[in-house]
């Protein structure tokens, strides 16, 4: 994706991860800033469906040509779906980080955790 963008309908985590809420589930991914810092992404190994993620803890890794980065859970819950399409096309994370580049879907265990996340404006102003 050429230009930086941070959609307003998402919530953001300091470690450059986003969450899109949908009732009691949420979709997670990494932000434009994250994919831009990493460079061209070559590999993503999703966690198992059914495993738990904990807010602020890493749950997977994203690998680019030059670096590997932990992906942090913005919220806690149980993984109900993973983006298996990234196996063949990990570059979707670069091209469409908020759409086709989604990483996992999670059933939230504590929706009140969203209070600790930032909105687009707060996140953008926190960037270097």
């Amino acid at each position: 994706m050429a230009d930086a963008s941070y959609p307003d309908d998402l919530l953001y985590h300091t470690e450059h991860d986003w969450a899109r809420l949908d009732g009691d589930t949420a979709t997670f991914g990494v932000t434009w800033y994250a994919q831009d810092s990493l460079g061209e992404i070559v590999f993503f190994d999703p966690p198992e469906v059914g495993s738990t993620v904990t807010k602020d803890e890493p749950y997977a890794e994203v690998e680019s040509v030059k670096a590997v980065s932990d992906v942090y859970a913005p919220l806690s819950g149980e993984i109900v779906e993973v983006n298996t399409g990234l196996g063949d096309a990990p570059e979707a994370i670069n091209d469409d980080p908020y759409g086709e580049g989604w990483l996992v879907k999670v059933r939230l265990s504590d929706p009140s955790e969203t209070d600790e996340l930032m909105d687009a404006a707060a996140y953008t102003s926190s960037l270097p």
Partner: protein, 453 residues
């Protein structure tokens, strides 16, 4: 100024002027505190002209008994194979000898393609789909395989056959102490890993199992059975092999081995009193991204030309740092070049012919020695290139007598054992001479003991 530096008086004056300091001392005084300056000359002998260095190194060499100075049957991990002259020529070429790791792939296509070809050759030999571009040497490869297993499944125990080379076992123990794995050793029975003890030792806490094939005592192990016993537990099956036997021996990839490693010295490399050589390292697809060390991969350039690059580099120390698959910075690139060039020289037919020759000569040698009075086989398992016997006489004294005859029969083992290695350089006549010499030495020693009794 030495013969390797070129700063003349004129150069020095002009260079200092360009820098803006008055003297060489000033460059150091400005940066290195007085409190840590050496303040004297290094206490080393003065330098020598090339011819004197050569004479000195030659004098030291003359006090070593090499395989050219005696008929040697020493093995136990490194072997006196014939290395063809073209290997020497290639390994001395400036373009292979002097460059660094290929960080600028555009000008390193020679070295990168050699790595790619080497990886292909190792995959072929082992029947495993993934190989790296080499690690330091055999025992390090075993320890690195253990680390791979530890990172993969986190389990605390390693089950290790007593048939593993002692250096591999010891290296594994030292390294495992570092990363927190406990070793459980399984004894041999009749020269091979005791199958009941092996199965009994493997449980859900076992992260990896290790065996060697042929094992340290030369015995061919039932790799399929050993691997099969570990299947249920999910432990990583690690097999240490001798690549030169893989023309005739069933390869690890067809026996259920997950990670195969080995000492590469027999493939086109010198003895060199133990190094440098290389360790080869191959694995199943599942471990591709967990492989330690360097890996060369194929790709295209901007004009569509075929080319090679170091790939999967994010796993290596310089990017992942704390999470790296290992801390290996050095592939044994030059030694691996020797390896792949040697395998190319042997070729498809040659590796089989060589294997058959080793098999036949080793069987002949074992029969010849065991036909002697006072010599019996330590085990009667199938052997390919090395075997073990027990002497009815003190092995050290037998060896001393043999050496006087210009024969080195092999490595002494505990309890008057002897490990004898065969290569294609040991002819039938050589083996006959070995038998004769050992026979006479054992007889003489038995007589001496009898006389003393």
């Amino acid at each position: 100024m030495s013969r390797y530096t070129a700063v003349t008086e004129t150069d020095l004056k002009e260079m200092l002027a360009e820098i803006g300091v008055a003297s060489l001392d000033e460059l150091f005084d400005a940066q290195v505190p007085a409190g840590v300056r050496l303040g004297r000359e290094l206490d080393l002998p003065p330098g020598l002209p090339e011819q004197d260095v050569y004479a000195h190194l030659r004098e030291l060499a003359a006090r070593n008994v090499s395989v050219e100075d005696e008929l040697s049957f020493l093995g136990a991990g490194m072997y006196d194979h014939y290395v063809p002259s073209l290997i020497d020529m290639l390994m001395e070429r400036s373009e292979f000898l002097t460059p660094y790791t290929p960080y600028q792939p555009e000008i390193s296509q020679g070295g990168l393609q050699v790595m790619f070809e080497y990886q292909t050759a190792i995959c072929e030999l082992t029947a495993l789909p993934v190989s790296n571009a080499s690690v330091y040497e055999g025992p390090s490869a075993v320890a690195a395989a253990g680390y791979l297993a530890k990172l993969a499944n986190g389990r605390p125990r390693f089950v290790v056959s007593a048939g593993l080379h002692p250096h591999a076992r010891e290296t594994l123990r030292t390294m495992a102490h570092g990363y927190g794995a406990e070793l459980v050793e399984v004894p041999l029975r009749d020269g091979v890993t005791d199958p009941d003890a092996w199965a009994g030792a493997i449980d859900e806490r076992t992260g990896a199992v290790f065996f060697q094939n042929p094992n340290f005592y030369g015995a061919v192990e039932d790799a399929e059975a050993l691997a099969g016993a570990a299947k249920e537990s999910g432990a990583v099956v690690i097999g240490s092999y001798d690549a030169i036997t893989l023309g005739v021996l069933k390869p690890p990839g067809e026996c259920g081995v997950d990670v195969a490693v080995g000492e590469g010295q027999p493939l086109g490399n010198r003895l060199d009193f133990g190094g440098p050589s290389f360790g080869w390292f191959a694995a199943t697809e599942a471990y591709q991204r967990r492989m330690p060390g360097r890996i060369a991969g194929e790709t295209r350039d901007v004009d569509g030309r075929r080319g090679f690059v170091l790939t999967l580099q994010t796993r290596e120390q310089h990017i992942r740092r704390e999470k790296a698959t290992s801390n290996i910075c050095t592939a044994q690139a030059l030694n691996a070049l020797g390896g792949v060039a040697y395998l190319t020289w042997l070729g498809r037919a040659g590796i089989v012919e060589l294997g058959e020759l080793l098999l036949a000569r080793t069987a002949y040698a074992r029969d010849a020695l065991c036909a002697l009075d006072g010599v019996e086989a330590l085990h009667t398992q199938p052997v390919i290139r090395e075997f073990a016997v027990r002497l009815d006489a003190p092995v050290a004294r037998v060896l001393a007598r043999c050496r006087e005859q210009g024969v080195n029969p092999g490595l002494p083992l505990d309890d008057d054992g002897l490990l004898v290695a065969i290569t294609e350089r040991r002819t039938r006549a050589d083996i006959d001479r070995l038998a004769e010499t050992v026979g006479a030495a054992v007889a003489a020693e038995r007589e001496a003991v009898g006389a003393r009794a």
